[in-house]
């Protein structure tokens, strides 16, 4: 058993679509809403841009959580990118959890450009969930 230090802070990667969720994150900033410093954001044009490999590569790299956030259904800047993404991700998430990945390592949310508060809440909640899971071990690349 790995004993975790009390102040262990998970490292979470957030793939945010440029038009809604990244803007929502910006709004959280302009509104000075504080949230846990656990997230590193990768800006993508659309949640539909996110290749399943991005998620797997992140896990392999050892991040403790992956968040994917896009525009609300029907509000995608690219019309339907988030719908395509939604299908892809639900299958991937289900498959990964089938292989034993803890539920909560990968999270999905919709955050619009006007939802700065929601963005902060999402980060807080994902952080809490991932914290409860402890450091990632599954699918993490081991060094030989």
């Amino acid at each position: 058993m790995i004993v975790e230090s009390k102040d262990w802070k998970p490292k979470i990667v957030a793939f945010l679509c440029n038009w809604c969720s990244y803007a929502g994150a910006d709004l959280a900033g302009t509104s000075r809403i504080q949230y846990p410093p656990t997230v590193r954001v990768i800006r993508v044009p659309c949640s539909g841009r996110i290749n399943p490999f991005f998620i797997l590569a992140s896990l392999q790299h050892g991040v403790d959580g992956v968040l994917i956030s896009g525009c609300h259904p029907g509000e995608c800047h690219y019309l339907t990118g988030n719908y395509s993404a939604r299908r892809k991700f639900v299958l991937l998430k289900s498959l990964l959890e089938h292989t034993g990945l803890e539920e909560g390592r990968i999270q999905f949310s919709w955050v619009s450009a006007s939802e700065g508060v929601k963005f902060a809440k999402v980060i807080a909640e994902v952080t809490e969930k991932v914290k409860a899971l402890g450091p990632a071990k599954k699918l993490v690349k081991s060094k030989t």
């Binding site: 639900v90 299958l91 998430k93 498959l95 949310s109």
Partner: protein, 317 residues
């Protein structure tokens, strides 16, 4: 079985004689017992090499892609489903193939038969109705073939070809087993148990890619495992690389897998590969009400969407 063999030869002979096709892809007897092997017939004189028995396990649709000649293919239920997918994915055109459908009673798993013989070397196997008569150096044993079917054949829901030009033999009764029971059983395990199971399975993998190469729907010019720009995963047998190979291989078949089991049969190490595919097949059926390879019209589930697709997995803080 011999009747089917004869009918297949007849059909093949006609097609070749009438120059309706350049090539018939079917099965021939293999070099070891309980082993049939893919066979390519171009002359009507060679049709007697074609056979049909309980060991025609390969998915011949594999051989259709990247060809320009006109081909007749012997197609079990799963082969036909793969043909449908390949047509939908622009890999072959419908008028390029003559589908000789053969209703299938499930193929026999020789590994399972061997285990039942506790290491006795088999020399000859004869089929009579549902019986397998196994002969060896100092023994003879009779087994019921239906107890020795491949795992994929045991849960097959489309034994009859869903699409064909010529049907050889009578249609068979489809199995009325509850679908996805196998998946549900595994789903009922704890995440830790599932993880342990897969870790053990993946650890066996030697990255020979037979699973990929046997799959009738793996036809990429360059597979993601071979891709160097970018290099998606490492090429070693390191656990996470292997796991991701299998996960992504299965994911690339999401909504496309025709459940033929070719991947699993090809695996020399006995990795339970279908466990991944089956989960996706179940999810796709339950979420998107789609089964791969049943018709030419339906759009693949990952090529389309519904605005009201379930999204219970979305976080709402």
């Amino acid at each position: 079985m011999p009747e089917l063999t004869n009918k297949i030869r007849e059909v093949a002979r006609d097609l070749l004689q009438q120059k309706k096709v350049d090539l018939v892809i079917g099965f021939a007897r293999g070099t070891t017992p309980m082993c049939s092997t893919p066979c390519f017939v171009r002359q009507d004189g060679e049709v007697n090499g074609l056979i049909w028995d309980s060991f025609c396990e390969n998915n011949l649709a594999k051989y259709l892609v990247k060809r320009s000649d006109k081909i007749a293919i012997i197609a079990k239920g799963c082969d036909a489903r793969a043909v449908v997918e390949l047509i939908k994915e622009n890999q072959i055109s419908r008028d390029q193939v003559v589908i000789i459908g053969v209703p299938c009673q499930g193929m026999v798993d020789r590994g399972m038969v061997r285990s039942a013989l506790e290491g006795n070397e088999i020399q000859e196997v004869e089929e009579k109705d549902d019986r397998l008569i196994i002969k060896g150096k100092n023994f003879e044993k009779v087994l019921n073939r239906n107890e020795f079917l491949h795992p994929s054949c045991k849960v097959c829901t489309h034994r009859n070809p869903v699409i064909y030009d010529i049907l050889v033999g009578d249609t068979v009764k489809e199995l009325d087993t509850e679908p996805y029971l196998d998946v549900a059983e595994f789903e009922a395990l704890t995440p830790e148990e599932r993880e342990e199971y897969f870790s053990k399975e993946f650890a066996k993998c030697i990255r020979c890619y037979a699973c990929r190469n046997a799959c009738p729907l793996c036809y990429c010019q360059e597979c993601f495992v071979d891709c160097s720009k970018p290099q998606w995963i490492g090429k070693t047998t390191e656990a996470s690389d292997t796991a991701i190979f299998h996960i992504m291989r299965a994911f690339h078949l999401a909504g496309r897998c025709v459940e033929c089991g070719a991947c699993e049969r090809a695996c020399p190490m006995g990795v339970d590969i279908r466990k991944l595919n089956r989960k996706l097949t179940k999810d796709v059926k339950e979420r998107f009400d789609y089964e791969a390879g049943l018709n030419l019209e339906e759009v693949a589930p990952l090529s389309t969407f519904k605005p009201d697709d379930a999204e219970e997995f979305i976080l709402h803080p």
